[in-house]
């Protein structure tokens, strides 16, 4: 890592600055949605369907309304009066806010109780009586495609099947030809089950409609407050909500990871309730509601094929995927990408031919779903290519590291145009893998594995060399519901040389109050401690598309640098005015302009700031501020190589992750300590799906894994001590060469662990195991291959 350009006092890029947001969190003085109490505030709780698919015969609120403190029971009929019973999803599908005819997944919202406190609201929910007429349930996405399957979306006129979309990328004919001509072809079915992001804070809001001023304020767990404001204005404009009188405030958010991007029915009902009643309404969901009804992730049934020469040169990749979206496509993808950025599936390899197709299908499950730190389906794409690469290695009897090295896009080929149309900005894959192998002691581990095998002990080494695609995104290709995916920063320097910087993104723990300050410090030389960063209040923050898919540093961070540079340009002119020279005579170093060849003649940024208000040049506007709306020219491509070492208990099948080495490359790094923190967290959220997490449905649509009893989050006992290292390959197009890193580890880790488990059993011919790799799955493989205790 290169030394920082700025001093520790200024604390620009490269410093591991202690976080500016921590003082409130360590004191328990964070301000999360459920901490908010407003005068006269009411509480909302939701009645939910026990059935996966059923007609609603009747809803009887009589008993509930008799409970002292229950003020109202809102149903679909209530909302239908205002045409608010259905709403658009972020993928331009539609979903119910509250049903008028039928429910389509277990735990679906059926009615809402408004009460004076949350205990009474809970009693109210128990007292609402709903009669259902069960309908046939569709949970198997393959069966959902059957012509005889019941059509689920009867609300869509003329819909005769359960298909949502067909998406494809690449040249099918050329790929088929390459397959036909290949020496070796391997194929593998893979299922990535439904999982849930389960941030420790669930979703919720306080909706506060001020009747007197006609203004709606919603404190909300949202990663994208501006988009929500615009959506509310468009969807509820007809009931009097006007965008200049809507304020969305994302206060402190206890983890987002994509789960707080969608607009959930609970928010809309709370807003409607507040508008109708004229009092603030708080809705905070329970954990079980969160797991069962909020947007899920994955649920991809993948069939992958990889073609190669017999000496291990990859020739072609072909993938067919069935995507189970639940009853509505409520995924938060950019609108032209119903399968997200799945076409990154050629990965780190120089694959000249590729074809990928994804078909989306409706089932009787909660709608979604890309909400789990996945950069728009990059987790699925990377799992697929890294798994099939190992399958190929096994087929060819080649070491998986060697196969990867042989096929990596070489550093000199960047910027690299992939067979599926992406221009990778920069990368050095061999260096990252070599570094990981050195740190883990790869050759020694292979020797240890051989010795252990001879004694009947099982250990595995798994590699994942991933390339991510983040920073959505260039306006030519990217929008969400039409809103282009630029992002923004507005900086204002005060007379005393301190700064205020507001951004269109919204941190949910990523440390923007610190890292964004460091960007400004780097560009202007104002100490990061003097840069006040704000996000999340749509009344003050410039318009942005929010924080998810690792886009903040690539877009808003870039906007911060660009705004700072605009300020620097003006500052130069003010400095020239103060120093009575031409701006061309001035040299910049962080924090000051100096006259070329006259080191004693300089002005600090603080002096310049003061002058901007007290002695600005005539003909120039006073003040020192700028705003930038940054439209990235391309996405960025962080990458890395991970190596997992696992030991398998032959008696129980339990998998223990002995070591996990992660070498990441996210380009230039703002705060190394924060980057490491992001990686540690991502690794835990990669281990979790690899070994523990799964939400499933029985044939009646009953959910299992709908509470923490069965939806298993790893504790500090299940996670190893993570070993991390970096390479640095800057992005050539980003203003300060950074790429984004928040999701790299969630993307790269699961295949490393899955590959390690398969590697432990490859000597008896095991080729694949689906995640989560439960002890029973492993035990069955051991039994089938004569390896159990």
């Amino acid at each position: 890592m290169s030394t920082p350009r700025t001093s520790p006092e200024v604390c620009g890029m490269g410093h591991s600055m202690k976080r500016k947001e921590d003082p409130r969190f360590i004191r328990g003085k964070g301000n999360y949605v459920d901490d908010i109490q407003l005068p006269g505030m009411l509480h909302m709780d939701i009645v939910r369907s026990p059935y996966a698919h059923a007609k609603i015969k009747s809803i009887n609120a009589e008993r509930a309304l008799k409970i002292p403190g229950v003020l109202a029971v809102i149903t679909g009929e209530t909302l239908a009066k205002y045409n608010l019973h259905w709403m658009p999803t972020l993928m331009s599908d539609t979903q119910m806010v509250l049903p008028t005819e039928k429910v389509m997944y277990q735990a679906q919202e059926v009615a809402a109780v408004i009460a004076t406190d949350r205990y009474v609201a809970a009693d109210g929910v128990e007292a609402v009586e709903v009669e259902y007429d069960p309908l046939p349930v569709v949970v198997d996405p393959f069966k959902a495609l059957d012509p005889s399957a019941p059509v689920l979306r009867t609300d869509k006129k003329d819909k005769k099947d359960n298909r949502i979309f067909h998406w494809q990328a690449g040249d099918r004919a050329a790929t088929d030809k390459a397959f036909a001509e290949a020496d070796v072809v391997v194929a593998q079915d893979m299922y990535l089950p439904r999982i849930h992001v389960a941030s420790i804070e669930t979703c919720g809001c306080v909706a506060d409609f001020d009747r007197v001023n006609g203004k709606l304020t919603v404190y909300m767990t949202t990663q994208a407050p501006h988009a929500v404001r615009t959506v509310f204005a468009l969807v509820a404009g007809h009931v009097g909500l006007s965008e200049e009188k809507i304020r969305i405030v994302s206060p402190d958010i206890g983890g987002g990871f994509g789960g707080k991007v969608p607009v959930y029915p609970g928010y809309v009902i709370a807003v409607a309730a507040s508008v109708v009643i004229g009092k603030p309404v708080k809705w905070v969901e329970d954990r079980m509601e969160n797991l069962q009804a909020d947007s899920f992730a994955r649920d991809y049934h993948i069939h992958a094929e990889l073609a190669a020469t017999k000496d291990g040169t990859m020739k072609a990749l072909r993938i067919k995927t069935l995507a189970d979206h639940g009853y509505a496509d409520a995924a938060a993808n950019p609108s032209k990408f119903p399968a997200g950025l799945f076409s990154i599936c050629t990965g780190s390899y120089d694959l000249k031919n590729a074809f990928a197709e994804v078909d989306g299908v409706y089932t009787n499950k909660a709608p979604g779903g890309i909400a789990y730190r996945c950069s728009f389906r990059v987790t699925e794409a990377v799992h697929c290519i890294e798994r099939i690469t190992d399958v190929l290695a096994q087929e060819l009897k080649m070491d998986p590291a060697e196969l990867r090295m042989k096929n990596f896009i070489p550093p000199e080929k960047f910027p690299y145009k992939s067979a599926l149309g992406w221009e990778y900005d920069s990368g050095n894959y061999p260096a990252a893998l070599r570094k990981a192998m050195d740190i883990v002691g790869y050759e020694a581990l292979r020797r240890e594995q051989a010795e252990k095998r001879a004694r009947g002990e099982l250990m595995g080494i798994g590699i994942s060399s991933f390339t991510e695609i983040v920073g959505a995104g260039p306006s030519k290709q990217f929008d969400i519901l039409g809103l282009k995916m630029f992002d923004s920063c507005e900086i204002r320097i005060h007379p005393t040389g301190k700064a205020m910087a507001r951004f269109g993104t919204k941190s949910q723990g990523q440390g923007h109050e610190t890292t964004y300050a460091q960007i400004v410090a780097e560009e202007l030389g104002i100490p990061a401690a003097h840069v006040q960063v704000e996000e999340g209040d749509t009344d003050t923050a410039p318009y942005g598309l929010g924080t998810y898919a690792s886009r903040s540093t690539p877009t808003a961070g870039a906007a911060g640098a660009m705004a700072a540079r605009k300020i620097r340009e003006k500052a130069k002119k003010i400095a020239a005015h103060l120093l009575e020279c031409s701006p061309d005579d001035l040299v910049w170093e962080p924090g000051k302009f100096t006259v070329k060849g006259a080191p004693s003649r300089s002005k600090t940024i603080q002096e310049i700031a003061f002058a901007a208000y007290t002695n600005h040049p005539q003909g120039m506007e006073a003040g020192l501020e700028a705003v930038s709306y940054y439209d990235p020219p391309n996405l960025t491509f962080p990458f890395g190589s991970y190596i997992a070492v696992v030991d398998i208990d032959r008696g129980t099948g339990a998998v223990k992750v002995r070591r996990f080495v992660a070498v990441d490359d996210c380009g230039n790094i703002i705060n190394p300590m924060i980057v490491d923190g992001q990686i540690h967290g991502g690794l835990a959220m990669g281990l979790a799906p690899a070994l523990l997490e799964e939400i499933s449905y029985d044939e009646d649509g009953n959910i299992t894994g709908g509470s923490f009893m069965d939806y298993l989050l790893p504790t500090a006992m299940e996670t190893p001590s993570w070993e991390t290292a970096k390479t640095v390959t800057p992005s050539p197009h980003h203003p300060f060469g950074a790429k984004g890193v928040g999701e790299s580890a969630t993307v790269g880790a699961p295949p490393a662990i899955a590959n390690a488990v398969v590697d432990a059993l490859s000597h008896v011919g095991v080729r694949h195991v689906d995640i989560p790799v439960t002890p029973e799955k492993v035990w069955r493989l051991l039994k089938e291959n004569g390896l159990s205790e």
Partner: protein, 290 residues
């Protein structure tokens, strides 16, 4: 996560508590640590109109050896059991068990008595107490009585405690020389109930043969399961890999686990075998036998 309304009573003495339980009958539940009961009430499963909290009754939390047995007060918290020197030194099977119940925070409230009285075959202490041949002391309207552990569990979530009875003490016979015990649990993650678990408490004679064997399984059927067939097989036999393996096989054969997310019936039964074997091996080691 809000319980339905109930009335709460905090009697200061056992007679007072018993009187309340007699008065309210079926509509009352005893709350001890509350770490099994409150989660149920919060999910509105298992209603209770009256909670009788025995937490104010003095003198129910202790761990001491007395009169040839280890006596544990019914309200002894798992964390207290974990930190007890006499348990660590002389009853390591209990330490093994306490350490894998839920998580450390829950163990600061959960009580040994509650763990038994709940009658849940998924709880960890039942199997251990079966292996230890413990006795349960109950106090009710008719005074105090002692219930051998083999008669204590009567069905799923059912015990021999009468409606008006409170579990006040657990007694475990002091171990003779060359005794060792172990509790081995397979769980998906820390804090989970057992996918399978086995408790083994054994005594060996000079030649390394079993003179006493206690073996029991957790979550292997509708009730905590004592593996009598396995115990009988081992009695008198020398402790060897083969004899232990056969005993474990017999223990698993008698198990009737239910399939759930932790595993299929086949897997759970196999794990009962593997863990019974491991628990026996460890118990034998601790008895100084191998």
């Amino acid at each position: 996560m809000i319980p339905a309304a109930f009335d709460y009573h905090a009697p200061a003495s056992l007679p007072e508590a018993i009187a309340l339980l007699s008065q309210f009958g079926d509509s009352a539940k005893v709350i001890s640590g509350g770490q099994s009961l409150l989660p149920l009430l919060k999910l509105r499963l298992g209603a209770a109109e009256h909670l009788v909290d025995i937490g104010r009754i003095a003198g129910l939390e202790y761990v001491r050896e007395e009169g040839g047995s280890l006596r544990i007060g019914g309200r002894t918290r798992e964390s207290v059991l974990e930190r007890s020197e006499v348990v660590r030194a002389r009853y390591p099977i209990l330490l093994d068990t306490a350490r894998v119940i839920a998580d450390p925070l829950v163990r600061n409230r959960a009580t040994v008595g509650g763990n038994l009285a709940h009658g849940d075959p998924a709880n960890d202490h039942p199997a251990t107490m079966l292996a230890l041949r413990a006795e349960v002391v109950a106090f009710g309207q008719n005074g105090e009585r002692t219930i051998p552990i083999d008669q204590f569990f009567t069905g799923l979530f059912a015990t021999a405690l009468a409606r008006d009875e409170i579990l006040t003490e657990i007694r475990i016979p002091a171990p003779p020389n060359r005794t060792g015990g172990a509790y081995v649990k397979l769980e998906r993650k820390v804090g989970d109930y057992a996918t399978a678990a086995a408790a083994a408490q054994v005594t060996l004679d000079g030649s390394g043969a079993f003179t006493q064997v206690g073996l029991a399984l957790t979550n292997a059927g509708p009730m905590p399961l004592r593996s009598t067939a396995a115990e009988e097989f081992l009695k008198g036999r020398r402790a060897t890999d083969d004899s232990i393996a056969e005993a474990a096989r017999r223990a698993a054969e008698a198990a009737s686990p239910t399939a759930d997310r932790r595993g299929s019936v086949e897997y759970k039964r196999e794990m009962a075998r593997v863990l019974a074997g491991r628990a026996l091996k460890k118990a034998v080691e601790r008895a100084g036998g191998r």
